[in-house]
């Protein structure tokens, strides 16, 4: 018996998350389509954003984190190149 559908980010949320982390937390493209390095790098950046906003630091995008990413904000990054 499975515990119901695994909640997936809607595709446009995936794009929003990527764009947000690139713009504001200096997420950079990692080599290889799904290399472990890429996932870790992404998780680090999500954790960095969660820490800045006082959210629970999990390294994965939960509802609260997505809500903050969707809020209107300033375009200056927290983590600049």
């Amino acid at each position: 018996v499975h515990s119901g559908p695994i909640s997936r980010q809607a595709d446009n949320d995936d794009a929003l998350i990527q764009s947000y982390l690139k713009k504001f937390y200096n997420l950079t493209e990692q080599t290889g389509p799904h290399s472990k390095g890429r996932t870790n790098h992404m998780s680090e950046k999500i954790a960095e954003m969660q820490k800045f906003f006082g959210l629970t630091v999990t390294g994965t995008v939960d509802q609260e984190t997505l809500q903050v990413m969707k809020k209107p904000r300033c375009g200056v990054p927290e983590v600049a190149q």
Binding site: G54, E64, V68, R73, C74, G75, V76
Partner: protein
């Protein structure tokens, strides 16, 4: 607060600014006035002085543009990014760009207050980066605040004065209003304004803020107006009527009813609309007891009971709190019911009271329910 580091600040206190173009959302006179006020937010607390020029290169060039607008950071249409600005330096340094795809307003809660967005961007133009203090103007996300009562928060004052020092020529006869400080959940002397449940969560109110406890037990702090634009700050009491799925906020003699994020039609109403006698001018706490379906309104050491089923005040009230809750002493400042237990706050102490055994089971500190 944070700065851009490497001493990225202006080497002078006399700065020029130029409004290069305008948004059609407001009259030019409004834009001139709003942007001038936004700069004064920073001038008021530093030695900085701003002079407007109407041609040539100013230190701070202000413009409105949509999408790609001449720098390497295109805007993204309505929502999302509202504006950006560049740290102090020659050329594009100090310049502030506003996304023309946004609706900028000068007063209403519809659209984005240009005053707030501009005051934030000018913080960048002067050398501040973003602050992680949710009450700071330099917090990255937009939150509505009343522009008529806005006072630069303490965190931002500390940040800008770390770069330029304080304003030395203030009028001692007209001291500036004290900068608001963001309340700290770790402060042992913290006295909460109100506490309530909200759809299974616990929420704790103080000044302009509230904390919500996330699933993992972490306290997240938010500006009240970032969730409920129409709700008041500095409330006296809050309670959730779980039968109605409504959160009630009470301040002085007014009551706001919130359903989710929305203000319920017809609110705010008067305190007497809740059934309280007109002689009650202020309450200090409130809770809804889902077992008895009664709402209790506390006025310091006394309390009233309102029967939500019969829609009438119960007779024989007000009663002394100690009469209805043996062992609970002092003025009640906040109250709520959680998991069948009643929590009565008196200052920074919390009485945990069991309605079944009719006695105080524990006396706790704030931090037991609101984690530091």
């Amino acid at each position: 607060y944070t700065t851009f580091g490497e001493g990225l600040k202006w080497p002078k206190n006399q700065l020029t600014y130029r409004i290069v173009n305008y948004t059609p959302d407001l009259s030019q006179a409004e834009v001139d006035s709003v942007l001038g006020k936004a700069l004064q937010v920073w001038a008021r607390v530093t030695p900085l002085k701003f002079t407007r020029i109407s041609s040539g290169d100013a230190d701070i060039m202000i413009s409105f543009g949509a999408g790609s607008h001449g720098d390497y950071y295109p805007f993204d249409g309505p929502g999302g990014t509202l504006a950006h600005a560049f740290a102090p330096s020659a050329g594009i340094g100090g310049d502030a760009h506003f996304d023309e795809d946004e609706l900028f307003t000068s007063s209403s809660t519809k659209g984005y207050l240009l005053f707030l967005v501009a005051a934030h961007e000018f913080g960048h133009s002067l050398g501040l980066s973003h602050s992680s203090d949710p009450g700071a103007l330099m917090y990255p996300t937009y939150s509505y605040r009343d522009p008529n009562t806005f006072v630069l928060p303490r965190d931002d004052v500390n940040g800008i004065q770390s770069l330029y020092g304080p304003n030395t020529d203030v009028n001692p006869d007209k001291p500036a209003p004290p900068p608001p400080v963001t309340p700290d959940a770790c402060d042992p002397s913290l006295v909460l304004d109100a506490v309530s449940t909200l759809r299974g969560e616990k929420i704790f109110f103080k000044n302009s803020f509230f904390w919500r406890i996330s699933g993992s037990g972490q306290a997240e702090q938010h500006l009240i107006k970032s969730f409920w634009t129409d709700a008041p700050d500095n409330i006296d009491a809050a309670y959730e009527n779980t039968a109605q799925d409504k959160l009630y906020l009470i301040k002085d003699q007014k009551v706001w009813a919130l359903f989710g994020y929305d203000l319920v039609q017809g609110y705010p109403k008067s305190l007497s609309s809740l059934g309280l006698p007109t002689k009650v001018k202020k309450i200090s706490a409130a809770l809804y007891d889902k077992n008895t379906r009664k709402t209790l309104f506390f006025t310091d050491n006394y309390y009233y009971s309102y029967d939500e089923s019969r829609k009438v005040m119960d007779k024989g009230y007000p009663k002394l709190v100690e009469q209805g809750f043996p062992g609970v002493t002092g003025k009640i400042t906040a109250a709520f019911q959680y998991n069948g237990l009643t929590y009565l706050y008196s200052g920074n102490r919390v009485f945990e009271y069991s309605p079944t055994s009719k006695k105080v089971t524990r006396v706790l500190s704030n931090s037991y329910l609101l984690p530091c």
